[in-house]
């Protein structure tokens, strides 16, 4: 591994430190080593790759839907298949792509940006990934065996109840949610603790990069929102498997109860996806405008407000259910107010670009694309916040257009910008800027061609989730245009993959900091060593990498013959104590297997909860077995 950090004049034994670090943080060999890895870069990369595959799969499902809808009375897909495909598309995109992708980027970037070596709970990190993978495999096992969910990605009862969706389709869906929510909670916990307690010395709360702030807020949101979906899906699952009546109206249950609990999660969920993307935008803008983002306090407070207000909006998904007018008016007000927090951030970024020196890299193109698409989506969101308007366009293609604008514009465009921005850090090579610009324009044009006409379709009366429509309603040519746009988006996706594979082989070699950006991840080598930094860099400003080289400080004295990190205080990040992180371990994988057995089995027979718990007990036993200096290794790599 090339050592690119400066040789520090007053630190003795640097070479010995480096070789210790190499040895201690090295991954084990073979399949066993691969399964027991606990370093954050490896696990983050796994999340990113798996979630990206899910994006492609969800995209294929979308293309299938668009082919079916391209002309009236089309028979490409029968209604059962269509229902399965649109449900799986929504489920895959929301649960298996969007949140895990944001988490994966966070796991990769947060320890680097905070100037530490790993996340706070490395084994929990690994466990979270295996749970996510379990959810992916379980859902797609269902897809390939005819048990794909077919009742819509939010699965309202009674349609999703035992009488109206027979078989195991909804059960597969509900349990997949349990998998992915476990995974999200694991990641959220470790991100919060990493950000609050493991920042490098000097990185006070006032100096935390905006991306890291966004992850802190998002992780708290996950902790509060995910339990709600676990409750909702568990109600549904137990109604279906053991005959309870939580949401059966005939026996006193209430379908609206499910909707309230689901959307209490569902609305924050979209902000959980969106807020890290705002963090990406901040990072890209500051690097490419060559100044720190304007209005740091306003940005932070807006994001926090965004996180709080997001929990007070959920009823806007239920305006058509006949709730009292005054209640609905409250949610109109809160849904519109959240536009303020997003608006302030947009104004700050525009001010940053205006007063800075923008350099048009591909990632900045994606930021401009984000501004265009997301602001339009925000406008339609304000329209949807109004109850009378929502009563007309709820559950129509207008809503589909809106949420694709805010999710693709607000999250996927920044994500692509993030890929172009951090690809050099992750792989050591720059992506092709020329192909990147083409990529951007193809995606931008394809996206608008697909989704802008859908606003018109919704106003023309086309409801959601219809597998076909007759010719006389006049939706045919607009639908055809949208299908054409969908294929253009697909081409854009292929271009991106081509750029990735090409650049990995033949891209120009990137140094540590090809963009001359300001945050600490650019101090590590590209790609980072498993231990990130030989000596942790100290942060004395908000833009530590813009401090002149001579004035930069480092943390020395951490032991390098074990996986030691520095735990600092919450507000001012003063060094507090040293902590030894666990090394590689196979137990997260084994525990994930036992939990998976319990979860999957309980869908078919409730007794598996018992047997799964017993097996998990053994997994946890291995996981928490007290270690006596097992992290200390002598020169030969043997445990002391």
């Amino acid at each position: 591994m090339i050592q690119t950090q400066d040789v520090l004049p007053n630190v003795p034994n640097q070479e010995e430190d480096i070789s210790n670090l190499e040895r201690v943080w090295r991954r084990g060999r073979g399949l066993f080593g691969w399964l027991s890895v606990t370093t954050h870069q490896a696990i983050g990369m796994r999340y990113i790759v798996t979630a990206f595959v899910m994006l492609l799969v969800g995209g294929i499902e979308a293309l299938l839907m668009r082919i079916q809808l391209a002309k009236p009375n089309n028979t490409f897909l029968n209604p059962d298949l269509y229902n399965q495909i649109f449900t799986t598309h929504g489920t895959t995109m929301m649960f298996l792509f969007a949140v895990p992708m944001m988490e994966g980027m966070a796991i990769y970037l947060v320890p680097l940006m905070c100037g530490t070596r790993n996340v706070a709970f490395p084994r929990l990190n690994a466990f979270g990934y295996w749970m996510f993978l379990g959810g992916v495999l379980f859902l797609y096992w269902g897809v390939f065996t005819g048990a794909a969910p077919d009742m819509g990605w939010f699965a309202y009862p009674p349609l999703s109840g035992p009488q109206f969706t027979p078989g195991k389709r909804t059960d597969v869906w509900a349990q997949m949610i349990t998998f992915t929510e476990f995974s999200a909670l694991c990641v959220a916990t470790e991100i919060v603790v990493t950000i609050l307690k493991m920042r490098t010395p000097g990185m006070t709360l006032n100096r935390i990069p905006l991306y890291v702030w966004s992850l802190l807020i998002q992780s708290f949101m996950v902790i509060f929102a995910m339990p709600a979906i676990v409750v909702a899906s568990s109600y549904l699952l137990s109604d279906r498997t053991i005959g309870t009546h939580f949401v059966n109206p005939a026996e006193g249950g209430d379908p609206l109860l499910y909707q309230h609990i689901f959307w209490f999660f569902g609305h924050p969920e979209v902000y959980i996806i969106f807020i890290p993307a705002l963090g990406f935008v901040s990072a890209i803008v500051s690097a490419n405008a060559r100044r720190e983002v304007f209005g740091y306090p306003a940005m932070v407070l807006s994001q926090i407000a965004n996180g709080f207000i997001a929990f007070g909006l959920w009823v806007h998904h239920m305006f058509a259910t006949g709730l009292p007018q005054i209640g609905e008016a409250f949610f109109t007000a809160s849904s519109m107010m959240i536009a303020i927090t997003s608006g302030v951030q947009i104004f700050c970024w525009i001010a940053t670009l205006w007063t800075g020196r923008p350099r048009m890299t591909t990632s900045l193109y994606f930021v401009y694309g984000f501004i265009a698409i997301f602001v339009l989506g925000g406008m339609t969101g304000v329209m949807l916040a109004s109850v009378p308007l929502d009563l007309q366009v709820h559950d129509t293609y207008f809503v589909i257009a809106h949420f694709h604008y805010v999710l693709i514009g607000g999250a996927v465009f920044p994500l692509f910008g993030a890929f172009y921005h951090w690809f050099p850090k992750m792989t050591g090579r720059l992506m092709s800027e020329r192909l990147g610009r083409w990529n951007f324009w193809v995606l931008f044009i394809g996206f608008n061609l697909t989704f802008f006409p859908m606003h018109i379709l919704g106003l023309k009366g086309m409801p959601r989730r219809v597998y076909t429509y007759p010719p006389e309603v006049g939706w045919g040519s607009i639908s055809q245009l949208a299908t054409l746009g969908a294929f253009i988006i697909a081409i854009g996706g292929i271009m991106f993959l081509a750029n990735v594979f090409m650049s990995r082989k033949t891209g120009s070699v990137a140094g540590n900091n090809p963009w001359e950006a300001d945050s600490l991840e650019w101090a590590a080598s590209s790609p980072p060593a498993p231990y990130n930094f030989e000596y942790l860099p100290v942060a004395t400003t908000r833009t530590p990498m813009w401090v002149p080289r001579e004035e930069r400080a480092f943390v020395t004295g951490l032991r390098t013959d074990r996986r030691e990190v520095l735990v600092t205080t919450l507000m001012d990040a003063e060094p507090h104590h040293r902590y030894v992180l666990p090394g590689s371990s196979i137990w997260p994988f084994i525990t994930a297997i036992t939990v998976t057995i319990g979860f999957i089995g309980s869908v078919f027979n409730p007794w598996y909860i018992i047997s799964g718990s017993i097996l998990t007990f053994f997994g946890l036993l291995g996981w928490f077995w007290p270690r006596r200096s097992t992290e200390i290794r002598d020169e030969a790599g043997v445990r002391a």
Partner: protein, 347 residues
């Protein structure tokens, strides 16, 4: 221009004209109101559209303007090395951003007031006089309609088609007996979800005669796409005639073919699900067929009501509407035509 280019151009042109045309078509459109409810909503829509459209353009202009200032800040400031902007620039930017944020708050407040007051306006209709009550029960995948009246001799049942008099407020009492459906006739009003174990009420009024198409707007299973309802607004005189006719039981068939058709109906599984008032058929599972012949469509208006479509529907319901709950009853080819004649005779 290549043929692809031409095709793409044609497509865009077709979609554009389609988009323009939608302003002119009546069918199932939010921006073609024919009554006070949808009229108020359409008014609110255009207000939001123009205001938010202008704001969007402003923001886009501001964002794109940043691209015209490459390599310099507001004042010519070298940013390398210090990456710091001057205090004066920073305070100017602060003023602009603060101003924009305050403007945002004010505009949103205006929009909230507009929205809530429109909502209050929509709630006025129940307080008018001379209302009509229709109970609509959504069921997989058709609409069961009962005209209500305090005089029970004026109550009757029909399916998939509502007639209403112009100028009179109509209360739609919404029920469901299986899953959640949603009643949506865009020309008349927004939608109301029909939730099992609840009654959701929506008030509509048509001011112009016409046929207004609506559709179920909450995903309800395999044939959600084909759960269409027609609301036919008529002058009060025509409505009264229609109403009185609907109260009558089905007439007795006159000629032998139609009589044979009635026999076929009664001797087959049809009677287990369908009701024809005036005969022995009293099944409650499927749509009421007493005046089926005068309706516009078959199978919740999946196909128009013509003899050919009816024959196809009875012979193989699963090909017209795959997954629907009508039994596939094998009717002899000799019996099919009389059956069709009989059903079409039920005007």
């Amino acid at each position: 221009m290549t043929s692809y280019g031409r095709a793409a151009k044609l497509l865009c042109f077709a979609a554009f004209t389609d988009a323009l045309a939608f302003c002119a078509t009546d069918a199932q459109s939010v921006v073609n109101p024919v009554g006070p409810q949808s009229g108020k909503i359409a008014g609110l829509w255009w207000f939001f559209f123009w205001l938010l459209g202008a704001i969007f353009l402003l923001v886009m202009v501001a964002a794109l303007w940043t691209l015209t200032r490459p390599n310099r800040g507001l004042a010519q400031e070298p940013l390398e090395g210090t990456h710091q902007v001057s205090q004066e620039t920073e305070s100017r930017a602060t003023r602009v951003v603060t101003g924009a944020s305050i403007a945002t708050v004010v505009i949103l407040f205006v929009l909230i007031v507009a929205s809530v007051s429109t909502g209050k306006g929509l709630a006025e209709l129940p307080y008018k006089k001379n209302t009509l009550t229709i109970e609509v029960m959504g069921t997989q995948w058709w609409w069961n309609i009962t005209y209500q009246n305090s005089d029970s001799s004026l109550v009757f049942t029909t399916a998939n088609e509502i007639h209403i008099p112009t100028g009179r407020p109509v209360q739609i009492r919404g029920l469901s007996n299986d899953v959640i459906h949603s009643f949506w006739v865009p020309n008349l009003h927004g939608k109301a979800d029909f939730i099992p174990s609840r009654v959701n009420t929506e008030w509509i009024q048509a001011d112009k005669p016409g046929v207004y198409r609506g559709q179920c707007a909450e995903f309800c299973g395999l044939q959600h796409a084909h759960m269409i309802i027609y609301v036919i607004a008529e002058t009060p005189e025509n409505f009264r005639k229609w109403y009185e006719h609907q109260l009558q039981p089905a007439g007795q068939p006159s000629d032998p073919t139609t009589q044979r058709g009635q026999q076929v109906f009664m001797n087959n599984a049809c009677v287990y699900c369908h009701q024809i008032r005036g005969t022995d058929a009293a099944g409650q599972n499927g749509p009421d067929l007493t005046h089926f012949g005068s309706r516009l469509g078959i199978a919740a208006n999946t196909v128009p009501n013509t003899p050919g479509n009816l024959g196809g529907w009875i012979a193989d319901p699963q090909s017209t509407k795959p997954g629907n709950h009508m039994a596939t009853v094998a009717v002899n080819s000799a019996d099919m035509q009389p059956l069709i004649n009989y059903l079409e005779s039920l005007k």
